[in-house]
C-alpha cells in the first residue's frame, strides 16, 4: 500500500483530493438548483405536487435512505481500516458497502417498476418530470460509484496492493457524495409537498 503524507488540514488536500471536491460541489449545486426549481414550480401547482407526492411510497424512500447511510457507514469504516493497513477488514467493509448500494438499486428498480406500471411516467405531470429526472440522474451516480468501488475492491485484493490512501479516499468521497445528494432528494421529493 502506498502511504501519502499530505495533511488534510492543507487547503489543497481535503480528504479525497481537491479535484474530487470541485466535482462534489458542482454536483451539489446542480442537484440543488434542480430541487429549488422543483419547489419553485410547486407554487404554480400546489395540489398537483401534493397529490403526486402522495403517490410515492415514503417507506421505500426511507428504507433506501437507510441503505445508503448504512453503506456510507461501512465505507467510512473501510477507509479507517485501510489507513490502519488492515486489508482483510477493509475488503470486508467494502463488501458491505457494495451490498448497501446494490440493495438501494434493487429497491429503486421495484419503485420504478410500480410507477411505470401505473402510468406515472415522465410525461404524467410536472412533479413526475422532476421525480424521474432527479432520481434517475442520482441512480446513474450510484451505478458509477459502485463501478469505482468494485474496481478499488479488486485492486486491494491483489497480492501486492498498489492503491494509495488518496485514491481510496477519493473513491470513498465519491460514494459519500451519492449519500449527500440523496439526503437532499429524499426530503424534497418524498416528504415536503
Amino acid at each position: 500500500m502506498k502511504k501519502e503524507l499530505v495533511s488534510v488540514k492543507n487547503l489543497y488536500y481535503p480528504p479525497g483530493g481537491i479535484l474530487l471536491w470541485i466535482v462534489i460541489f458542482l454536483e451539489l449545486f446542480t442537484f440543488g438548483m434542480a430541487l429549488v426549481a422543483m419547489v419553485y414550480y410547486s407554487k404554480d401547482e400546489p395540489e398537483v405536487f401534493h397529490n403526486s407526492r402522495l403517490l410515492l411510497n415514503t417507506t421505500f424512500g426511507a428504507v433506501n435512505t437507510v441503505f445508503l447511510l448504512t453503506s456510507g457507514f461501512f465505507m467510512a469504516k473501510s477507509v479507517e481500516s485501510f489507513k490502519e493497513n488492515n486489508i482483510k477488514k477493509t475488503a470486508n467493509f467494502l463488501r458491505w458497502t457494495l451490498l448497501g448500494g446494490l440493495l438501494f438499486l434493487v429497491l429503486k428498480s421495484v419503485e420504478y417498476y410500480f410507477k411505470i406500471e401505473n402510468g406515472f411516467t415522465m410525461n404524467f405531470n410536472t412533479f413526475f418530470s422532476f421525480y424521474w429526472m432527479l432520481t434517475l440522474f442520482h441512480v446513474i451516480h450510484v451505478i458509477v460509484g459502485l463501478v469505482i468501488l468494485i474496481s478499488v475492491y479488486f485492486g486491494i485484493k491483489k497480492p501486492i496492493v498498489t492503491t494509495s490512501i488518496e485514491d481510496f479516499e477519493a473513491s470513498a468521497a465519491f460514494w459519500h457524495m451519492c449519500d449527500l445528494i440523496w439526503l437532499l432528494l429524499f426530503p424534497v421529493i418524498y416528504l415536503i409537498f
Partner: protein, 80 residues
C-alpha cells in the same frame, strides 16, 4: 479517532431518518413540517460530510463551503 464514533453517527442518522418520515405524516402544517424536515435533513447532511467524509479534519475553507452551501439551500427552499 474514537472507534465507536462512526457507529454513533450512523445510529443518529437512522433516528433522524425515521423522525423525518414521521414528521411528514404528522398533524403539523405544511410549512412547519417542511422547515422541520429540511432542518433535520441538513443535520444529516452535515453529519455525513463532517464525520463520514472526515471534513471535520479538513481546512476551514472546506468546512465553511459545505456549511454555506447547505444553509443557502435551506434558506432558498424555505423562502420560496
Amino acid at each position: 479517532m474514537n472507534k465507536d464514533l462512526f457507529l454513533i453517527i450512523w445510529v443518529l442518522l437512522i433516528l433522524l431518518t425515521i423522525t423525518t418520515a414521521l414528521v411528514s405524516g404528522s398533524a403539523l402544517s405544511t410549512t412547519q413540517a417542511a422547515i422541520l424536515i429540511l432542518g433535520l435533513s441538513i443535520v444529516k447532511f452535515l453529519c455525513v460530510s463532517f464525520y463520514f467524509m472526515e471534513l471535520k479534519n479538513a481546512h476551514v475553507f472546506w468546512k465553511a463551503s459545505i456549511l454555506f452551501y447547505v444553509l443557502l439551500f435551506f434558506i432558498i427552499t424555505i423562502s420560496l
